[in-house]
Amino acid sequence: MGMTVVEKILARAAGRPAVKAMDVVEPRVDLAMSHENATLVINQFKEIYEGTGREAKPWDLSRIAIIFDHRVPAEGPKTASNHKLVRGFVAQHGIAKFHDIRGDRGGICHQVLPEFGYVRPGSVVIGTDSHTTSHGALGAFSFGIGATEMASIWALGVALNIEVPPTIKIVVKGSFPKHVGPKDLILHIIGKLTAQGANFRVLEFHGETIRKMSTSGRLVLCNMSVEAGATSGIVPADDETESYLREEAGVTEKIERVLPDADAVYERVVEIDVSKLEPQIACPHTVDNVKPVGEVAGTAVNQVVIGSCTNGRLDDLATAAAILKGRKVADGTRMLVFPASARIYSQALEAGYLAEFMRAGAVVMNPGCGPCLGVHQGALGDGEVALATTNRNFKGRMGNPKSAVYLCSPAVAAASAVAGVITDPRTGGR
């Protein structure tokens, strides 16, 4: 019986000739990523060893990555002390894949991991962040867990008792119309599947549209797969994956592509044609409450946010800068831009995008997660409305339960910032 990509990856990582959906395996972990919540991982890790007489030392330091991104620079003494505790652990053990708060190599974990070549096709990447699904964009099996589970991985080097998830095959065809792209596609898919439609499942992306899509776009799809409940999203590796890893991530060693068998067993197949897809908006307060932009156009917006692990990459900033060129952010609307990494920040600076944002009246912030989950800057006032290129619009997500968040693409966000109301970039943009 044929295997899906994830089945192949898990079979190999568990040292078995083959696995099928719902088999229970203990795959070895290729990369174990944490961010600020490494504070809790360290606490739980030490607790595991209490009374054992064994030294609390992670199984393989080269496979641990820690990236500070959620509250950077620290917003208060508690976070600063958490950062300090993690730095101490990193120094004590010598963890090389550590990205501190720095303007040269810092950033959001889900951007830093691909950029620095930490993710390879066929690998098992596990992170203490639900959007760890992102790294499926490079053909890895990648998913989020909690801190105690990460402590267990640090101790044992394997993920315990994983059920091989069934796979839903998503086949995408057609070319995107102007001002429509990967964010609109994934919002459309989440609306179709619902917020729990892929719970305990993998979304495996196929079709001509995916093959032609950049790694940046694929990261958007896999990043938000979790919003349909998916364990992981995955794009089988191809020439684009290889050229990203060579050119952007500086990977020199052999890259092995893990591809699905022709007779792989899928739970179901979903086919989508994007050639007539409209810009999509996820309306408050669930990500599956998705509507074409026309249905909510005209809604007044107090804050526009462009950035995050979902849509803070260079192509996203380029799209927004082109729409803002020669125009101003509307009075009564604030616009925040936070690039996904230090590298992207630097590239956007050189390309002139950041100057364009500032000239238009936007505030350019440092890379980080902050506003997306209401933990660090960009909080909303009572009754305010935000339009964001981020990934979640749950009640209270942007720091205030009495506010509302709409999700959209960078094109919709930029056009709406100019108009001060939710705007279709095909008519209100350029």
Partner: protein, 166 residues
């Protein structure tokens, strides 16, 4: 037996259970104070110790969706509440099992706040309405962790076993 103290709809996110703005607080001993913080009446009742251990939160489908923050499980665990939900999102489900939070998947559960529920193997009985509802077993792959009393204890056992083999 426990009284339903909170009835929730579907897609209750971990942002609702434990708002992001308290994420710098991580220790299970400290997270209970922020449990459902923006549901101010419920949070106040918890803090006033007016909710006895064993009380039940009943939720519709996809409870605990969203962020992987483990605080969402530890904050409920800290008050020793039971969660009975029609379905539970993957990461929250695993966090709950790992931390020993009592969760029950009950696809057809019907209960209102104030109802008395009896949770038994394979079923939940609503003593107030007299109706009984079948439960779904937790993932069998996780049973060893449940039996060990949580993931820390289970991993500790595995660490000692692997040490014995060397």
């Amino acid at each position: 037996m426990g009284k339903v103290v909170l009835k929730l709809g579907k897609d209750i996110s971990t942002d609702d259970i434990y708002p992001g703005r308290f994420m710098a607080t991580v220790l299970p001993t400290e997270t209970p104070q922020f449990c459902f913080f923006d549901r101010t009446e419920f949070n106040a009742a918890l803090k006033a110790k007016a909710v006895p251990p064993g009380s039940v939160i009943v939720a519709d489908e996809n409870f605990g969706c969203g962020s992987s923050r483990e605080q969402a499980a530890s904050t409920i665990r800290g008050h020793e509440l039971v969660v009975v939900a029609r379905s539970i999102a993957r990461i929250f489900l695993q966090n709950a099992i790992n931390l020993g939070l009592n969760i029950v998947i009950c696809p057809a559960i019907e209960a209102e706040e104030g109802d008395e529920l009896e949770v038994a193997p394979g079923r939940v009985r609503n003593l107030t309405s007299g109706k009984e509802f079948a439960t779904e077993p937790l993932p069998p792959a996780r049973q060893a962790i449940i039996d060990a009393g949580g993931l820390i204890a289970y991993t500790r056992k595995r660490v000692l076993e692997s040490a014995a083999h060397k």
